[in-house]
Symmetry: C2
Subunit: 215 residues, 2 copies
DNA sequence: TTCAAATTGTTGCAATTGCAACTGTTATAT
DNA sequence: ATATAACAGTTGCAATTGCAACAATTTGAA
Protein backbone atom coordinates (compact mmCIF):
# COMPACT_ATOMS: atom_id res chain seq x y z
CA UNK A 1 0.00 0.00 0.00
CA UNK A 2 1.70 3.20 -1.19
CA UNK A 3 1.46 6.08 1.20
CA UNK A 4 -0.59 9.03 0.18
CA UNK A 5 0.97 12.44 0.28
CA UNK A 6 -1.08 15.45 1.14
CA UNK A 7 -0.50 17.12 -2.25
CA UNK A 8 -0.74 14.06 -4.48
CA UNK A 9 -2.32 14.85 -7.83
CA UNK A 10 -2.23 18.57 -7.30
CA UNK A 11 -0.15 20.85 -9.51
CA UNK A 12 2.69 22.94 -8.13
CA UNK A 13 0.71 26.04 -8.98
CA UNK A 14 -2.36 24.94 -7.11
CA UNK A 15 -0.28 23.84 -4.16
CA UNK A 16 1.12 27.31 -3.74
CA UNK A 17 -2.29 28.92 -3.94
CA UNK A 18 -3.61 26.49 -1.38
CA UNK A 19 -0.72 26.86 1.01
CA UNK A 20 -1.49 30.52 1.07
CA UNK A 21 -5.16 29.82 1.57
CA UNK A 22 -4.54 27.50 4.55
CA UNK A 23 -1.92 29.75 6.05
CA UNK A 24 0.49 26.83 5.88
CA UNK A 25 3.67 27.29 7.88
CA UNK A 26 6.74 25.11 7.42
CA UNK A 27 9.12 24.54 10.29
CA UNK A 28 12.34 22.62 10.68
CA UNK A 29 13.40 20.84 13.83
CA UNK A 30 16.56 19.05 14.79
CA UNK A 31 16.84 15.61 16.34
CA UNK A 32 15.56 15.53 19.93
CA UNK A 33 13.82 18.88 19.56
CA UNK A 34 10.42 19.33 21.12
CA UNK A 35 7.55 20.67 19.08
CA UNK A 36 5.84 23.22 21.28
CA UNK A 37 2.90 25.55 21.26
CA UNK A 38 0.71 23.56 18.98
CA UNK A 39 -2.65 25.24 18.80
CA UNK A 40 -5.67 23.05 19.30
CA UNK A 41 -6.86 23.32 15.72
CA UNK A 42 -3.45 22.98 14.17
CA UNK A 43 -2.55 19.96 12.11
CA UNK A 44 1.07 18.89 11.64
CA UNK A 45 2.07 17.09 8.46
CA UNK A 46 5.48 15.43 8.59
CA UNK A 47 7.30 16.35 5.39
CA UNK A 48 10.49 14.57 6.36
CA UNK A 49 11.82 12.85 9.45
CA UNK A 50 10.11 11.09 12.33
CA UNK A 51 7.97 12.54 15.11
CA UNK A 52 7.11 10.71 18.33
CA UNK A 53 4.24 11.30 20.74
CA UNK A 54 5.65 10.57 24.16
CA UNK A 55 4.01 10.42 27.57
CA UNK A 56 5.90 10.71 30.83
CA UNK A 57 3.74 9.50 33.62
CA UNK A 58 3.78 10.23 37.32
CA UNK A 59 5.90 7.29 38.27
CA UNK A 60 8.61 7.99 35.80
CA UNK A 61 7.59 5.72 32.97
CA UNK A 62 8.21 6.92 29.47
CA UNK A 63 5.79 5.69 26.84
CA UNK A 64 6.02 6.12 23.09
CA UNK A 65 2.36 6.44 22.24
CA UNK A 66 2.86 6.92 18.53
CA UNK A 67 5.60 7.13 15.93
CA UNK A 68 4.81 9.27 12.93
CA UNK A 69 6.86 8.88 9.78
CA UNK A 70 7.05 10.95 6.62
CA UNK A 71 3.62 11.92 5.29
CA UNK A 72 2.01 11.11 8.60
CA UNK A 73 -0.01 13.63 10.58
CA UNK A 74 -0.40 14.68 14.18
CA UNK A 75 -2.16 17.28 16.22
CA UNK A 76 -4.02 17.76 19.48
CA UNK A 77 -7.11 16.90 17.52
CA UNK A 78 -5.77 13.43 17.02
CA UNK A 79 -4.53 12.39 20.34
CA UNK A 80 -6.26 11.10 23.33
CA UNK A 81 -8.13 13.59 25.44
CA UNK A 82 -7.93 11.48 28.57
CA UNK A 83 -4.23 11.88 28.93
CA UNK A 84 -3.44 13.68 32.15
CA UNK A 85 0.26 12.89 32.13
CA UNK A 86 2.87 14.99 30.42
CA UNK A 87 2.54 14.36 26.69
CA UNK A 88 5.26 15.74 24.48
CA UNK A 89 5.86 15.77 20.75
CA UNK A 90 9.50 15.10 20.06
CA UNK A 91 11.40 14.74 16.80
CA UNK A 92 13.27 11.45 16.66
CA UNK A 93 15.36 12.74 13.74
CA UNK A 94 15.85 16.03 11.97
CA UNK A 95 12.37 16.82 10.80
CA UNK A 96 10.38 19.22 8.66
CA UNK A 97 6.75 19.80 9.47
CA UNK A 98 4.05 21.76 7.71
CA UNK A 99 1.37 23.16 9.98
CA UNK A 100 -2.07 24.02 8.63
CA UNK A 101 -5.32 25.02 10.18
CA UNK A 102 -7.41 21.88 10.25
CA UNK A 103 -10.84 23.49 10.08
CA UNK A 104 -9.83 25.57 7.14
CA UNK A 105 -8.39 22.59 5.34
CA UNK A 106 -11.46 20.50 5.88
CA UNK A 107 -14.25 22.98 5.35
CA UNK A 108 -15.48 24.25 2.02
CA UNK A 109 -13.12 26.91 0.80
CA UNK A 110 -14.43 30.40 0.11
CA UNK A 111 -12.00 30.74 -2.74
CA UNK A 112 -13.31 27.46 -4.10
CA UNK A 113 -9.86 26.25 -5.04
CA UNK A 114 -10.51 23.70 -7.74
CA UNK A 115 -8.19 21.14 -6.27
CA UNK A 116 -9.52 21.39 -2.78
CA UNK A 117 -11.57 18.24 -3.13
CA UNK A 118 -8.49 16.32 -4.21
CA UNK A 119 -6.77 17.58 -1.10
CA UNK A 120 -9.58 16.37 1.11
CA UNK A 121 -9.50 13.00 -0.57
CA UNK A 122 -5.76 12.80 0.09
CA UNK A 123 -6.38 13.79 3.66
CA UNK A 124 -8.94 11.01 3.99
CA UNK A 125 -6.34 8.50 2.77
CA UNK A 126 -3.78 9.81 5.21
CA UNK A 127 -6.14 9.62 8.16
CA UNK A 128 -7.19 6.13 7.09
CA UNK A 129 -3.55 5.08 7.03
CA UNK A 130 -3.17 6.55 10.50
CA UNK A 131 -6.11 4.45 11.68
CA UNK A 132 -4.51 1.30 10.33
CA UNK A 133 -1.26 2.12 12.11
CA UNK A 134 -3.14 2.69 15.35
CA UNK A 135 -4.90 -0.65 14.86
CA UNK A 136 -1.52 -2.31 14.49
CA UNK A 137 -0.47 -0.60 17.69
CA UNK A 138 -3.55 -1.92 19.50
CA UNK A 139 -2.79 -5.35 18.10
CA UNK A 140 0.67 -5.32 19.67
CA UNK A 141 -0.39 -3.85 23.01
CA UNK A 142 -3.35 -6.21 23.32
CA UNK A 143 -1.03 -9.22 23.51
CA UNK A 144 -1.07 -10.71 26.99
CA UNK A 145 2.58 -11.63 27.41
CA UNK A 146 5.87 -9.93 26.77
CA UNK A 147 6.90 -12.66 24.37
CA UNK A 148 3.73 -12.27 22.32
CA UNK A 149 4.17 -8.49 22.24
CA UNK A 150 7.66 -9.01 20.86
CA UNK A 151 6.55 -11.60 18.33
CA UNK A 152 3.64 -9.49 17.15
CA UNK A 153 5.92 -6.48 16.80
CA UNK A 154 8.62 -8.45 14.97
CA UNK A 155 6.02 -9.91 12.61
CA UNK A 156 4.71 -6.43 11.89
CA UNK A 157 8.14 -5.10 10.94
CA UNK A 158 8.92 -8.25 9.01
CA UNK A 159 5.67 -7.97 7.06
CA UNK A 160 6.48 -4.40 6.10
CA UNK A 161 9.83 -5.29 4.60
CA UNK A 162 9.07 -8.86 3.56
CA UNK A 163 12.23 -10.07 5.26
CA UNK A 164 12.92 -12.31 8.22
CA UNK A 165 15.91 -10.26 9.26
CA UNK A 166 14.80 -6.95 10.66
CA UNK A 167 16.41 -3.92 12.18
CA UNK A 168 14.40 -2.37 14.96
CA UNK A 169 13.96 1.30 14.04
CA UNK A 170 14.86 2.57 17.48
CA UNK A 171 17.02 1.66 20.45
CA UNK A 172 16.02 -1.36 22.49
CA UNK A 173 15.36 0.90 25.39
CA UNK A 174 12.96 2.88 23.21
CA UNK A 175 11.41 -0.37 22.05
CA UNK A 176 10.51 -1.22 25.63
CA UNK A 177 8.89 2.21 25.92
CA UNK A 178 6.94 1.42 22.78
CA UNK A 179 5.83 -2.01 23.97
CA UNK A 180 5.06 -0.56 27.41
CA UNK A 181 7.18 -3.07 29.30
CA UNK A 182 10.24 -2.98 31.49
CA UNK A 183 13.47 -2.84 29.51
CA UNK A 184 15.32 -5.49 31.49
CA UNK A 185 12.34 -7.83 31.43
CA UNK A 186 12.17 -7.36 27.67
CA UNK A 187 15.86 -8.12 27.21
CA UNK A 188 15.51 -11.17 29.46
CA UNK A 189 12.66 -12.42 27.29
CA UNK A 190 14.67 -11.84 24.10
CA UNK A 191 17.52 -13.82 25.62
CA UNK A 192 15.13 -16.66 26.41
CA UNK A 193 13.88 -16.57 22.84
CA UNK A 194 17.45 -16.74 21.58
CA UNK A 195 18.17 -19.67 23.91
CA UNK A 196 15.08 -21.46 22.62
CA UNK A 197 16.15 -20.85 19.04
CA UNK A 198 13.13 -18.71 18.20
CA UNK A 199 15.19 -15.74 17.12
CA UNK A 200 18.72 -14.68 16.49
CA UNK A 201 19.49 -11.23 17.79
CA UNK A 202 22.22 -8.81 18.55
CA UNK A 203 21.27 -5.32 19.65
CA UNK A 204 18.77 -3.94 17.13
CA UNK A 205 19.24 -6.71 14.56
CA UNK A 206 16.76 -9.53 14.91
CA UNK A 207 16.33 -12.55 12.70
CA UNK A 208 13.07 -14.46 12.97
CA UNK A 209 13.64 -18.20 13.13
CA UNK A 210 10.23 -19.29 14.45
CA UNK A 211 7.47 -20.35 12.12
CA UNK A 212 5.55 -17.16 11.42
CA UNK A 213 2.39 -19.01 10.46
CA UNK A 214 2.20 -20.12 14.08
CA UNK A 215 1.71 -16.61 15.36
CA UNK B 1 -17.73 16.79 19.93
CA UNK B 2 -20.82 15.79 18.00
CA UNK B 3 -20.42 12.69 15.90
CA UNK B 4 -20.54 13.08 12.19
CA UNK B 5 -22.96 10.96 10.24
CA UNK B 6 -22.08 9.76 6.79
CA UNK B 7 -24.99 11.64 5.15
CA UNK B 8 -24.85 14.86 7.15
CA UNK B 9 -25.77 17.87 5.05
CA UNK B 10 -26.96 15.83 2.13
CA UNK B 11 -30.57 15.88 0.99
CA UNK B 12 -32.74 12.78 1.02
CA UNK B 13 -32.89 12.93 -2.75
CA UNK B 14 -29.15 13.04 -3.16
CA UNK B 15 -28.71 10.26 -0.62
CA UNK B 16 -30.87 7.92 -2.65
CA UNK B 17 -29.02 8.72 -5.85
CA UNK B 18 -25.73 8.13 -4.11
CA UNK B 19 -26.73 4.89 -2.44
CA UNK B 20 -27.53 3.61 -5.84
CA UNK B 21 -24.25 4.88 -7.18
CA UNK B 22 -22.23 3.18 -4.41
CA UNK B 23 -24.23 -0.01 -4.59
CA UNK B 24 -25.03 0.47 -0.91
CA UNK B 25 -26.51 -2.58 0.78
CA UNK B 26 -28.25 -2.44 4.14
CA UNK B 27 -28.27 -5.46 6.41
CA UNK B 28 -29.77 -6.17 9.81
CA UNK B 29 -28.20 -8.42 12.40
CA UNK B 30 -29.39 -9.67 15.74
CA UNK B 31 -27.45 -9.59 19.00
CA UNK B 32 -24.54 -12.03 19.01
CA UNK B 33 -24.70 -12.47 15.25
CA UNK B 34 -21.46 -12.65 13.30
CA UNK B 35 -20.90 -10.46 10.29
CA UNK B 36 -19.39 -12.72 7.66
CA UNK B 37 -18.08 -12.59 4.14
CA UNK B 38 -16.91 -9.03 4.19
CA UNK B 39 -15.11 -8.34 0.98
CA UNK B 40 -11.72 -6.68 1.24
CA UNK B 41 -12.85 -3.39 -0.25
CA UNK B 42 -16.13 -3.24 1.62
CA UNK B 43 -16.77 -0.61 4.21
CA UNK B 44 -19.34 -1.14 6.95
CA UNK B 45 -21.13 1.85 8.44
CA UNK B 46 -23.00 1.16 11.67
CA UNK B 47 -26.43 2.75 11.33
CA UNK B 48 -27.65 1.48 14.70
CA UNK B 49 -26.33 -0.84 17.37
CA UNK B 50 -22.83 -1.83 18.39
CA UNK B 51 -20.28 -3.93 16.54
CA UNK B 52 -17.21 -5.48 18.13
CA UNK B 53 -13.98 -6.64 16.51
CA UNK B 54 -12.92 -9.68 18.48
CA UNK B 55 -9.80 -11.80 18.31
CA UNK B 56 -9.59 -15.34 19.66
CA UNK B 57 -5.99 -16.33 19.97
CA UNK B 58 -4.31 -19.70 20.03
CA UNK B 59 -4.26 -20.04 23.78
CA UNK B 60 -7.91 -19.32 24.24
CA UNK B 61 -7.80 -15.64 25.05
CA UNK B 62 -10.62 -13.50 23.79
CA UNK B 63 -9.75 -9.88 23.05
CA UNK B 64 -12.10 -7.08 22.15
CA UNK B 65 -9.91 -5.12 19.77
CA UNK B 66 -12.47 -2.45 19.00
CA UNK B 67 -16.01 -1.43 19.85
CA UNK B 68 -17.83 0.45 17.14
CA UNK B 69 -20.92 2.42 18.02
CA UNK B 70 -23.54 4.07 15.87
CA UNK B 71 -22.05 6.07 12.98
CA UNK B 72 -18.74 4.27 13.34
CA UNK B 73 -17.13 2.35 10.54
CA UNK B 74 -15.30 -0.91 10.08
CA UNK B 75 -13.84 -3.05 7.33
CA UNK B 76 -10.87 -5.22 6.54
CA UNK B 77 -9.27 -2.07 5.22
CA UNK B 78 -9.25 -0.72 8.72
CA UNK B 79 -8.00 -3.47 10.82
CA UNK B 80 -4.59 -4.77 11.46
CA UNK B 81 -2.97 -6.82 8.74
CA UNK B 82 -0.65 -8.58 11.16
CA UNK B 83 -3.38 -10.44 12.87
CA UNK B 84 -2.95 -14.16 12.36
CA UNK B 85 -5.44 -15.21 15.02
CA UNK B 86 -9.13 -15.65 14.42
CA UNK B 87 -10.65 -12.18 14.12
CA UNK B 88 -14.40 -11.96 14.07
CA UNK B 89 -16.87 -9.14 13.71
CA UNK B 90 -19.74 -9.66 16.10
CA UNK B 91 -22.78 -7.55 16.86
CA UNK B 92 -23.03 -6.75 20.56
CA UNK B 93 -26.65 -5.69 20.11
CA UNK B 94 -29.22 -5.80 17.35
CA UNK B 95 -27.54 -3.84 14.62
CA UNK B 96 -28.09 -2.34 11.20
CA UNK B 97 -25.14 -1.88 8.89
CA UNK B 98 -24.80 -0.24 5.52
CA UNK B 99 -22.08 -1.69 3.33
CA UNK B 100 -20.55 0.34 0.54
CA UNK B 101 -17.64 -0.14 -1.78
CA UNK B 102 -14.85 1.94 -0.30
CA UNK B 103 -12.97 2.69 -3.52
CA UNK B 104 -16.12 3.84 -5.21
CA UNK B 105 -17.02 6.05 -2.29
CA UNK B 106 -13.64 7.66 -2.15
CA UNK B 107 -12.77 8.07 -5.80
CA UNK B 108 -14.12 10.75 -8.08
CA UNK B 109 -17.57 9.74 -9.19
CA UNK B 110 -18.27 9.35 -12.91
CA UNK B 111 -21.78 10.61 -12.38
CA UNK B 112 -20.30 13.64 -10.66
CA UNK B 113 -22.92 13.60 -7.91
CA UNK B 114 -22.93 17.15 -6.63
CA UNK B 115 -22.89 16.15 -2.98
CA UNK B 116 -20.12 13.68 -3.32
CA UNK B 117 -17.56 16.06 -1.91
CA UNK B 118 -19.73 16.61 1.16
CA UNK B 119 -19.83 12.88 1.60
CA UNK B 120 -16.06 12.62 1.46
CA UNK B 121 -15.75 15.41 3.99
CA UNK B 122 -18.13 13.52 6.28
CA UNK B 123 -16.11 10.39 5.75
CA UNK B 124 -12.97 12.27 6.73
CA UNK B 125 -14.63 13.35 9.97
CA UNK B 126 -15.74 9.82 10.71
CA UNK B 127 -12.29 8.35 10.10
CA UNK B 128 -10.76 11.11 12.24
CA UNK B 129 -13.14 10.23 15.05
CA UNK B 130 -12.11 6.60 14.64
CA UNK B 131 -8.46 7.64 15.00
CA UNK B 132 -9.21 9.46 18.22
CA UNK B 133 -11.01 6.43 19.61
CA UNK B 134 -8.06 4.23 18.69
CA UNK B 135 -5.74 6.70 20.41
CA UNK B 136 -7.86 6.42 23.54
CA UNK B 137 -7.58 2.67 23.25
CA UNK B 138 -3.78 2.91 22.99
CA UNK B 139 -3.81 5.21 26.00
CA UNK B 140 -5.58 2.59 28.10
CA UNK B 141 -3.54 -0.38 26.91
CA UNK B 142 -0.26 1.49 27.31
CA UNK B 143 -0.76 1.72 31.07
CA UNK B 144 1.72 -0.51 32.88
CA UNK B 145 -0.46 -1.86 35.68
CA UNK B 146 -3.92 -3.31 35.93
CA UNK B 147 -4.95 -0.56 38.32
CA UNK B 148 -3.83 2.15 35.92
CA UNK B 149 -5.61 0.49 33.05
CA UNK B 150 -8.80 0.52 35.12
CA UNK B 151 -8.34 4.11 36.22
CA UNK B 152 -7.59 5.29 32.69
CA UNK B 153 -10.64 3.46 31.41
CA UNK B 154 -12.90 4.77 34.17
CA UNK B 155 -11.67 8.30 33.55
CA UNK B 156 -12.39 7.95 29.87
CA UNK B 157 -15.98 6.86 30.44
CA UNK B 158 -16.41 9.49 33.12
CA UNK B 159 -15.12 12.20 30.81
CA UNK B 160 -17.62 11.20 28.14
CA UNK B 161 -20.59 11.53 30.43
CA UNK B 162 -19.22 14.18 32.77
CA UNK B 163 -20.24 12.08 35.77
CA UNK B 164 -18.29 10.30 38.49
CA UNK B 165 -20.77 7.46 38.60
CA UNK B 166 -20.43 5.36 35.54
CA UNK B 167 -21.97 2.21 34.15
CA UNK B 168 -19.56 0.03 32.27
CA UNK B 169 -21.12 -0.58 28.85
CA UNK B 170 -20.43 -4.28 28.88
CA UNK B 171 -20.11 -7.17 31.31
CA UNK B 172 -17.10 -7.22 33.61
CA UNK B 173 -15.90 -10.30 31.88
CA UNK B 174 -16.02 -8.42 28.59
CA UNK B 175 -14.25 -5.50 30.25
CA UNK B 176 -11.34 -7.77 31.06
CA UNK B 177 -11.25 -8.84 27.41
CA UNK B 178 -11.18 -5.17 26.48
CA UNK B 179 -8.40 -4.30 28.91
CA UNK B 180 -6.52 -7.46 27.90
CA UNK B 181 -6.15 -8.76 31.43
CA UNK B 182 -7.32 -11.76 33.39
CA UNK B 183 -10.86 -11.40 34.69
CA UNK B 184 -10.18 -12.62 38.21
CA UNK B 185 -7.07 -10.46 38.49
CA UNK B 186 -9.15 -7.50 37.38
CA UNK B 187 -11.87 -8.19 39.93
CA UNK B 188 -9.25 -8.63 42.63
CA UNK B 189 -7.79 -5.24 41.75
CA UNK B 190 -11.23 -3.63 41.80
CA UNK B 191 -11.81 -5.13 45.22
CA UNK B 192 -8.50 -3.68 46.41
CA UNK B 193 -9.52 -0.30 45.06
CA UNK B 194 -12.82 -0.56 46.90
CA UNK B 195 -10.99 -1.52 50.10
CA UNK B 196 -8.68 1.46 49.70
CA UNK B 197 -11.65 3.75 49.16
CA UNK B 198 -10.66 4.70 45.63
CA UNK B 199 -13.91 3.56 44.10
CA UNK B 200 -17.30 2.29 45.01
CA UNK B 201 -18.49 -0.52 42.82
CA UNK B 202 -21.06 -3.20 42.42
CA UNK B 203 -21.08 -5.19 39.20
CA UNK B 204 -21.05 -2.77 36.29
CA UNK B 205 -21.75 0.33 38.37
CA UNK B 206 -18.64 2.18 39.43
CA UNK B 207 -18.35 5.44 41.32
CA UNK B 208 -15.05 7.24 41.17
CA UNK B 209 -13.95 8.47 44.61
CA UNK B 210 -10.29 9.13 43.88
CA UNK B 211 -9.05 12.55 42.86
CA UNK B 212 -9.20 12.52 39.08
CA UNK B 213 -6.66 15.29 38.72
CA UNK B 214 -4.12 12.84 40.12
CA UNK B 215 -4.45 10.45 37.19
C1' DT C 1 42.91 8.19 20.53
C1' DT C 2 40.68 8.39 24.57
C1' DC C 3 37.29 9.33 27.74
C1' DA C 4 32.48 9.90 28.87
C1' DA C 5 27.95 8.90 27.93
C1' DA C 6 24.60 6.08 26.07
C1' DT C 7 23.12 1.68 25.14
C1' DT C 8 22.94 -3.24 25.74
C1' DG C 9 23.02 -7.10 28.62
C1' DT C 10 22.53 -9.69 33.18
C1' DT C 11 20.57 -11.22 37.56
C1' DG C 12 18.35 -11.62 42.34
C1' DC C 13 14.38 -10.44 44.54
C1' DA C 14 9.80 -8.61 45.16
C1' DA C 15 5.40 -7.42 43.33
C1' DT C 16 1.92 -8.15 40.13
C1' DT C 17 -0.73 -10.89 37.32
C1' DG C 18 -2.53 -15.21 35.38
C1' DC C 19 -4.62 -19.68 36.09
C1' DA C 20 -7.70 -22.80 38.10
C1' DA C 21 -11.17 -24.00 40.77
C1' DC C 22 -14.35 -22.67 43.30
C1' DT C 23 -19.02 -20.04 45.49
C1' DG C 24 -22.58 -16.75 45.26
C1' DT C 25 -25.73 -13.88 42.57
C1' DT C 26 -28.58 -12.27 38.82
C1' DA C 27 -30.99 -12.90 34.43
C1' DT C 28 -33.62 -15.63 31.12
C1' DA C 29 -36.41 -19.02 29.35
C1' DT C 30 -39.78 -22.67 29.97
C1' DA D 1 -41.94 -20.60 39.90
C1' DT D 2 -38.05 -22.82 39.03
C1' DA D 3 -34.26 -24.47 36.59
C1' DT D 4 -30.28 -23.20 33.98
C1' DA D 5 -27.05 -20.48 32.24
C1' DA D 6 -24.48 -16.36 32.44
C1' DC D 7 -22.18 -13.30 35.28
C1' DA D 8 -19.80 -11.60 39.51
C1' DG D 9 -16.84 -12.42 43.10
C1' DT D 10 -13.04 -14.98 45.79
C1' DT D 11 -8.63 -17.22 46.78
C1' DG D 12 -4.25 -20.19 46.72
C1' DC D 13 -0.54 -20.99 44.00
C1' DA D 14 2.55 -20.50 40.13
C1' DA D 15 4.41 -17.83 36.46
C1' DT D 16 5.57 -13.56 34.63
C1' DT D 17 7.10 -9.08 34.98
C1' DG D 18 9.03 -4.98 37.24
C1' DC D 19 12.68 -2.92 39.94
C1' DA D 20 17.25 -2.13 41.21
C1' DA D 21 21.79 -2.48 40.78
C1' DC D 22 25.11 -3.86 38.39
C1' DA D 23 28.80 -5.14 34.18
C1' DA D 24 29.96 -5.06 29.32
C1' DT D 25 29.85 -2.96 25.01
C1' DT D 26 29.19 0.59 21.67
C1' DT D 27 28.93 5.34 20.21
C1' DG D 28 30.17 10.00 19.95
C1' DA D 29 32.68 14.06 21.07
C1' DA D 30 36.95 16.39 22.45
Amino acid sequence: MPETKIFDNITEDEINKMKNCFKAVNRKYIEEERINNIEDGSLGIVLSGVVEIIRFDFDGNRTILERINENGIFGRLFFSQIDEGDVQIICATDTEVMFVDYEHLVKQCHNACSHHSTLIRNMLSIVSEKSIKLSNRVEVLSQRTLRKKLITYFNMISKETGKKSIVIPFSLSNLSDYLCVDRSAMLREMKKMRDEGLIDSHAKKVTILYDQTMY
